[in-house]
């Protein structure tokens, strides 16, 4: 039966080429626009570390003074040096890392390459294990190196390629900021999207090229990247004693029970700090996991949302347009439908036949839409924004394109098909 309906649909579509073309064009434009923006949104709101992100948490504390206290206020988005070091030393989580972004001048061994600046991450060692960073050569620095000012560095594959032509560079020396560092490891390509562990340096920033032990980098006073929030008269002193939050602290907690216990620990810690007179506010802590943290920060740019809704609005207009055209098309065939009714076809089978026709329009429109969204994504990739390079169609989005196209067109076909089935057969036969 389906094959017969499909045959009828093809005949009818071929008969009214212009009307069919208009419908296909409308569907293709609507699907193309909405799938382009949907794909961008899908890529941008993805999970940076699938399977792992639910066990990674971002503790927040509130060490600010009592000025401008408002009920329900969010604690600062980062931690101070003192709190970060205390939590790190307490070591209550399965893994933990304290970090900040930075920029270091690289003075290449090869004089033919000009000195350049590279984004760096100053962090403690468990960063690599906790975030599943793959190593190409070597390994992370040791636990002792976190606290003994070790001049060690881990490079990204990109920097290793640039400086050492991709060879195993572990054990070699790298000159940065006027100091010599020994290379202990090279990590493979690794770009969590979004750049969840430090949103201050760009929600979709590329991962850093150079990784240095936090204590080493801060003792050498390498410049940090990101934001620093200060209170009181805190700004104008050494960053380590300043009343400022500027570091990110991440913990890994494997079970919800551990997470609950850690939150309790944060509350106890805040109470203790208050009893010592270090904190002035009541305990105010947060413990969000990766996806909650991304959600809380509205990390997907609002322009992307706006584009998505705009494209959806456009798709609705296209669909309404298709409903109108399909209605015109189906009613024009009232005579033919009347004959089929008179020959014994039930309303239900006419309805099915018309929906198959709508689905066929959807399929062709979906193909056109797919081509248009590939074009659209190519245009997006040409843009200079951080996330541009990420805009690719994956298999799930490809299937979604066709599901959306066929589904939407069939829904658009419902009303015209129902209306056309109501045509009384006798009237049509008479007027012929």
């Amino acid at each position: 039966m389906f094959a017969y309906y499909l045959d009828l649909a093809m005949r009818s579509l071929r008969r009214h080429k212009i009307l069919t073309g208009l419908m296909v064009l409308a569907i293709a434009l609507g699907i193309g626009a909405s799938m382009t923006t949907l794909t961008v949104m899908h890529v941008l709101s993805g999970d940076p570390l699938p399977g792992k992100s639910a066990t990674l948490y971002y503790p927040q504390l509130d060490p600010r003074d009592s000025q401008d206290v408002r009920p329900g206020q969010e604690p600062p988005a980062q931690v101070s040096w003192m709190d970060g070091m205390n939590l790190l030393k307490a070591g209550r989580a399965d893994r933990q890392a304290l970090m900040t972004g930075g920029a270091v001048p690289i003075q290449p061994p090869d004089a033919s390459i000009d000195p350049f600046f590279e984004d760096a991450r100053f962090t403690t060692r468990e960063f690599f294990a906790m975030f599943h960073v793959p190593f190409l050569y070597g390994h992370a620095w040791s636990r002792e190196d976190d606290s003994n000012d070790a001049r060690l560095v881990v490079l990204s594959r990109r920097i290793n390629d640039k400086l050492f032509g991709g060879a195993d560079s572990t054990g070699k020396m790298l000159r940065t900021g006027g100091k010599e560092f020994r290379i202990v490891g090279v990590i493979d390509d690794w770009r969590p999207t979004p750049h969840f562990y430090d949103l201050m340096t760009g929600g979709y920033a590329d991962s850093e090229g150079v990784y240095l032990p936090l204590l080493t980098a801060t003792d050498l006073k390498f410049p940090t990247n990101g934001s620093r929030d200060c209170w009181g008269n805190g700004a104008n002193i050494d960053a380590k004693t300043a009343l400022c939050t500027w570091l990110q602290f991440w913990v890994e907690l494997d079970t919800p029970a551990k997470a609950a216990a850690y939150k309790q620990f944060l509350l106890n810690y805040s109470r203790h700090q208050k009893s010592l007179g270090v904190y002035q506010r009541e305990p105010n802590v947060r413990l969000r996991n990766v996806m909650q943290w991304l959600d809380h920060n509205h990390v997907v740019p609002s322009d992307v949302h706006l584009q998505f809704w705009l494209a959806m609005g456009f798709l609705v207009v296209c669909l309404v347009n298709t409903v109108g055209l399909m209605l015109a098309k189906f009613l024009r065939r009232a005579g033919e439908l009347g004959v089929r009714r008179a020959l014994g076809a039930s309303r239900r089978s006419l309805f099915a036949q018309l929906l198959v026709e709508a689905g066929a329009v959807g399929l062709v429109g979906g193909l056109g839409g797919l081509l248009l969204s590939l074009l659209g994504l190519w245009v997006v990739r040409m843009q200079p924004s951080d996330y541009a390079a990420l805009a690719h169609l994956d298999l799930s989005m490809l299937l979604a394109t066709f599901a959306l196209a066929i589904g939407a067109t069939m829904v658009a076909g419902l009303l015209p098909a129902w209306r056309a089935c109501l045509v009384p057969p006798a009237l049509q036969l008479k007027s012929q």
């Binding site: 064009l25 920029a103 600046f117 322009d303 949302h305 456009f314 296209c318 109108g324 055209l325």
Partner: protein
């Protein structure tokens, strides 16, 4: 032209009429909001910076040890001033459309709760104010004695120059000169008002006004080092920057040029608004596609009606209706449908705008955008219906006598 028969005919095609009206209404709603967003972005891109974008540039270097600050400043300034084509060079912490350096919430009284918004503090060394070419409209420019050592991000207290827009918003009753602005315990006394000076990263949030800039004179030193403002003679920007890049490379490995921030204010402006430009292009694309689809929908429906009513048209022609009368019939019919769609669309446009305002930083839709959208749709409708209507008008009266 009688409207009665048209309405009677439309009543027989209630569903189709309703659909096309709905489509026009949706198009009207999206169209007016999209054109509003477009014009908003364009006006941001053309917001005056208060300085001469094409003649100013930032040169930024890093990589040296903090104790090298005075040495680096002296060498850099000497090099920049000695470069052919540079008419003046001075230290500055940020330039319009570059990276912001010192944003801070300000108070008019240190005991005040809350702030009057977050402003940007431009800290400039001697000559920076003049190099920027700011126009003083009230009070005076900073003088030699006003430059004090910078503590962290600004001097501890300093005379400052603010923009006219900021002065008006802080002291609506006027007389800003001599008044004080506070950040924590830091006090800044207003000595002058300039016509305008845009902040480095304008239009990021509503409590950061675009003209919320404060110029603070500061002494070059460990906290004011590495970023320089140069004024370049017309047409020499590219060659000057090339010479500067080469000179910095020769200064040794301790001084590394920050490529991204070493650029003319004009090119910083262009990269700052890159996303806005692509958003405008996208919105224009959507508007064009929307108009196209709507027009095609109207063409399709009108053609269908014309072919459906061929016999009736023939009868009217046989009874004496002129070609013009048939043409006007379909044109009026389209006008009525589009007008109904616009009436519904205006309501939907405002609903959409309210929705957008809730989730995004979008202001209220000005009424002026509605007539524009309406006019565009009326014109589009008339153009779309023209070809089917002309075909209808050419239906010969003899059709009336044929049975099928």
């Amino acid at each position: 032209m009688q409207i009665q028969p048209i309405l009677a005919a439309l009543r027989r095609h209630r569903l189709a009429t309703l659909l096309i009206t709905l489509q026009i209404a949706l198009a009207c709603a999206v169209l007016s909001n999209a054109s509003f967003l477009i014009s908003q972005r364009i006006s941001r891109m053309h917001a005056p910076s208060g300085v001469d974008n094409a003649q100013l540039a930032e040169v930024s270097v890093e990589g040296f040890a903090p104790d090298q600050a005075s040495n680096v400043n002296a060498r850099m300034l000497a090099m920049l001033r000695g470069t052919a084509g540079v008419s003046s060079a001075a230290l500055i912490n940020a330039v319009p459309f570059g990276d912001p350096a010192a944003n801070a919430g300000i108070k008019l009284d240190p005991s005040e709760q809350g702030t009057h918004g977050v402003m940007h503090f431009y800290v400039g060394g001697p000559g920076a104010f003049q190099a920027l070419g700011l126009k003083v409209v009230e009070g005076r420019a900073p003088q030699a004695g006003d430059y004090q050592p910078v503590a962290d991000f600004t001097p501890k207290q300093a005379p400052v120059v603010i923009t006219r827009a900021l002065a008006t918003s802080l002291w609506p009753q006027g007389h800003p000169l001599g008044k004080s602005i506070w950040i924590g315990s830091r006090r800044f006394r207003v000595i002058g008002v300039v016509k305008g000076l845009i902040r480095p990263a304008p239009f990021t949030s509503s409590n950061r006004p675009a003209q919320g800039s404060i110029f603070v004179p500061g002494q070059p030193g460990p906290q004011l080092v590495g970023r320089y403002l140069i004024r370049v003679a017309t047409g020499q920007m590219d060659s000057v920057l090339e010479r500067v890049r080469k000179a910095v490379r020769q200064m040794g490995p301790q001084v590394v040029l920050d490529e991204a921030q070493t650029a003319s204010v004009e090119s910083l402006h262009s990269s700052y608004f890159q996303t806005d430009r692509s958003m405008v292009a996208l919105l224009l694309g959507v508007v064009a596609a929307l108009l196209l689809v709507t027009a095609l929908g109207m063409v399709g429906l009108a053609s269908f009606w014309v072919s459906q009513r061929t016999r009736q048209i023939g009868v009217r022609r046989a009874l004496g209706a002129t070609q013009g009368a048939i043409l006007r019939y379909f044109q009026t019919e389209n006008l009525l449908i589009v007008s109904a769609g616009i009436a519904l669309g205006v309501v939907m446009a405002f609903a959409l705008n309210v929705l957008l305002m809730q989730y995004y930083e979008v202001p209220r839709l000005p009424l002026g955008y509605l007539p524009v959208g309406a006019l565009a749709l009326w014109l589009l409708g008339q153009l779309a219906v023209l070809s089917p209507a002309l075909r209808a008008s050419r239906v010969p009266p003899v059709v009336a006598t044929r049975s099928v």
